[in-house]
């Protein structure tokens, strides 16, 4: 067999070969190359339906890869500088859950920042692992939670020498990075695994001058959202592993919850995107950063807004910053981030990634055109001209340090009762409450409900944040411990 290199995309190539074979399908999917569902085929396109096929010998099987998927995973590992890599079709959520389920059994401790994505806390409910939260520093001006400083991690390790793993959220949604090398070194000195939620860090692996990647820092596992900055289809991700992780056991862990009918649309999109980034990632991300820097300078020249960047770096809780991010602080113009987010869409037909209490995030990628960036900047200038107001009464913080009463799994499965929001203060919550995006819980199962939290939830709802997580779809009631 010929030697494979980064110019290859084994799954994609196998699908092309397979298409030329014109095999008659007497297997699933039942749409039979789209012929059985013409409306869907017209909508998605014949080419797309043609490769929506089932696992079979020529196309390998994600649950037990031995040929083209194995080759593609090997190429991905090489591209990311990992010992092993797995293609994931359940989003980065499934990757995050798999690495926690690999590291922890029921009752094991895991050190993590509290401002993690809900997928990490979900994994704690699934495994019964017990979180040791490191409360992140908060930037007083912007109100956002930052990274973990090595000192905080060291203290958590000292107090919990029996913890099995440390999870790091790197970079955060806003682009903030922790000192990953130092944290990894500390963890390894104490025999703990380092798991990195690198959902927003795909580009670190391919561009120049980005913060250090999890694999380069020596971390054991990293979950990478290829579908974010990497250009693959929504829901497709990579799980990367260092040399000390038993990849064959990890595959078994993944197979506990992963579908047995992985979509070849997702798999081929990962394969093709990896090839593209390996071959031309440098130029792609240089362009992305250039556009983000341009937009940042222009937005800052409007006045009022603060589009922040690497000037925030403080050596500790902001060890580094991802300059491809366009995060903007909006409170100085008297508007909550979520209000600017809604105005951009409703008034100007511009959809950005998210808005929270005081910030917005516009996702910049190689798919952007200069003229669209100009529109975004102009729309923000117009929002300031038309809607700016005195913002004296604005809430300014995105993060409230929780008071943990019970581990998430115990709380989630405990006997509970539903109470109206304002009567719930002083009780222990048994479910999640969060704004989505960003999907960082305000309350997680097992945490004490306080007046401050109730006020925050009311405020976020009033400003138009999309709240999720509770059993009550209207977020008027909360489930609490009986």
């Amino acid at each position: 067999m010929e030697q494979l290199s980064q110019v290859n995309a084994p799954i994609y190539e196998a699908l092309r070969r397979f298409r030329r074979m014109r095999v008659v399908p007497f297997d699933v999917p039942g749409h039979k190359r789209g012929r059985g569902n013409m409306e869907l085929t017209e909508f998605l396109g014949e080419d797309c339906m043609n490769v929506d096929v089932n696992s079979m010998k020529p196309l390998d099987n994600l649950c037990h890869p031995v040929s083209v998927i194995k080759d593609a995973e090997m190429l991905a590992a090489e591209a990311f500088g990992a010992a092993n890599a797995f293609f994931m079709v359940g989003g980065t959520t499934s990757a995050v859950q798999s690495m926690i389920m690999y590291a922890c059994k029921s009752g094991d401790k895991i050190i993590m920042p509290r401002n993690v994505h809900r997928s990490a806390i979900n994994a704690l409910i699934l495994t019964g692992a017990v979180p040791v939260y490191v409360n992140p520093d908060v930037n007083k001006q912007l109100g956002i939670a930052l990274g973990m400083s090595p000192e905080q991690v060291e203290q958590a390790i000292r107090e919990n020498p029996d913890a099995k793993a440390i999870m790091v959220n790197n970079p955060t949604y806003y682009g903030i990075c922790s000192d990953l090398k130092k944290i990894t070194q500390l963890a390894h000195e104490h025999g703990m695994l380092v798991l990195v939620d690198e959902a927003h860090g795909t580009h670190f692996y391919f561009g120049d001058n980005f913060p250090v990647t999890a694999m380069a820092a020596g971390a054991d596992c990293a979950s990478v959202s290829m579908h974010k900055s990497g250009g693959s289809l929504t829901q497709s991700s990579f799980l990367l592993m260092g040399k000390n992780v038993n990849a064959d056991y990890m595959r078994q862990v993944i197979n506990l919850t992963q579908t047995t009918s992985a979509s070849y649309l997702l798999l081929s999109s990962l394969d093709i995107s990896r090839k593209r980034l390996a071959l031309s990632g440098k130029e792609i991300f240089a362009k992305t950063v250039e556009m983000a820097e341009y937009a940042r300078a222009e937005i800052n020249s409007i006045g009022g807004y603060y589009a922040y960047s690497s000037e925030l770096i403080n050596g500790g809780s902001i060890f580094d910053f991802d300059r491809s991010k366009l995060s903007v602080f909006t409170l100085p113009i008297g508007l909550a981030g979520i209000e600017v987010y809604d105005l951009l869409r409703d008034e100007y037909d511009i959809q950005i990634e998210f808005g929270d209490i005081g910030n917005i995030l516009a996702y910049i990628s190689v798919g952007d055109r200069k003229r669209d960036i100009e529109r975004l900047i102009s729309a923000m200038a117009e929002i300031k001209r038309r809607f700016a107001r005195d913002g004296a009464d604005m809430l300014s913080h995105e993060y409230i340090s929780p008071i943990v009463a019970l581990p998430p799994r115990k709380a989630f499965y405990a006997d509970k009762v539903s109470l109206p929001l304002e009567e719930s203060a002083g009780k222990v919550c048994t479910e999640f409450v969060m704004c989505y995006p960003p999907g960082i819980p305000i309350l997680a199962p097992g945490e004490l409900i306080t007046d401050e939290i109730i006020q925050y939830i009311r405020y976020a709802k009033e400003k138009g944040c999309q709240m999720t997580g509770t059993e009550d779809i209207n977020i008027e009631r909360l489930n609490v411990l009986k």
Partner: protein, 283 residues
């Protein structure tokens, strides 16, 4: 041999002109630029395959987009023209001795270069000393302008392609800010006839209505544009397009025009019922 230029006006309607010869073709950073000679329409310019102007009928478009606001504003001195790299609008504007300054913002330098070389009919006055050319995205240029212009003329391509930004609310809002307190903005407003064009026309009308206190639409007949029935938008902070028209004053200027006159000016704002309805739907 027969050589035809064909533009698709709808998926089911083509418009063709017999080409004598092709004079120029190139792809710039922004678009494909072509210049042809034809027996019927003389020389013509296309961008990305869309008709921009022909020597035979450009006077209609350029007179109507320029003289309507110029006849309403009592003292237009500082003018901003966006798009219009062919120079047709500038040619009309330079005929007014009272105009002090014309800022022309064209995103594509190559369009101006090509027009200067191949289309002297329209590009003839781009060297007038009052004309300042900026090669920049119009959306960006106008963002930093405040209380600066008496008249803004938006001579854009269609809202699909590099001209898309010139049909947005953020752009119209920026124009409002860039105008003086009695300023007027006129824009190329698409056609009401074919469905897709009509929808684009309505979308942009809605955005202008939301951005300016006075917003009216007027029409002209342009044979080489889809359906031939074309609209312009007149948006203004203070002046009404018909009631504030000073016919006597404009006629005393003695400008010789082939399409525009002050009677037609008033009449152009009288629209067919179906167009009125399309506009009312979004007002």
């Amino acid at each position: 041999m027969e050589l035809w230029f064909t533009e698709r006006h709808t998926p089911n309607v083509n418009f063709s002109i017999k080409v004598d010869r092709q004079l120029y073709s190139a792809v710039s950073e922004f678009q494909r630029i072509d210049v042809f000679d034809s027996k019927e329409f003389g020389r013509f310019l296309t961008l990305d395959g869309y008709m921009m102007l022909t020597e035979k009928d450009e006077f209609i478009y350029h007179e109507m987009i320029t003289h309507v606001p110029m006849a309403v504003h009592p003292a237009p001195e500082n003018i901003l023209v966006i798009g219009a790299g062919d120079g047709g609008v500038v040619r009309e504007l330079t005929r007014y001795p009272t105009v002090k300054s014309i800022d022309l913002v064209e995103i594509d330098e190559l369009v101006i270069e090509v027009c200067k070389k191949y289309l002297p009919t329209t590009a003839c006055r781009l060297d007038d000393e009052r004309v300042h050319i900026f090669y920049e995205d119009g959306v960006k240029f106008i963002r930093s302008c405040e209380n600066k212009y008496d008249v803004i003329i938006v001579d854009s391509t269609d809202p699909f392609g590099p001209g898309e930004g010139l049909f947005t609310k953020e752009f119209y809002g920026s124009c409002f800010k860039a105008l003086r307190e009695d300023g007027i903005m006129v824009n190329q407003h698409e056609s009401p006839f074919y469905d897709e064009d009509a929808a684009a026309m309505q979308r942009s009308h809605k955005r202008i209505v939301e951005s300016f206190p006075i917003s009216r639409v007027y029409q002209a007949h342009i044979p080489t544009y889809p359906s031939g029935h074309w609209l312009f938008g007149f948006a203004s902070k203070k002046y009404h397009p018909v009631r504030d028209l000073n016919s006597t004053k404009w006629n005393l200027l003695g400008l010789k025009t082939r399409y525009y006159n002050t009677k037609l000016h008033a009449g152009a704002f009288a629209l067919p019922n179906y167009v009125e309805e399309l506009l009312r739907d979004v007002e």
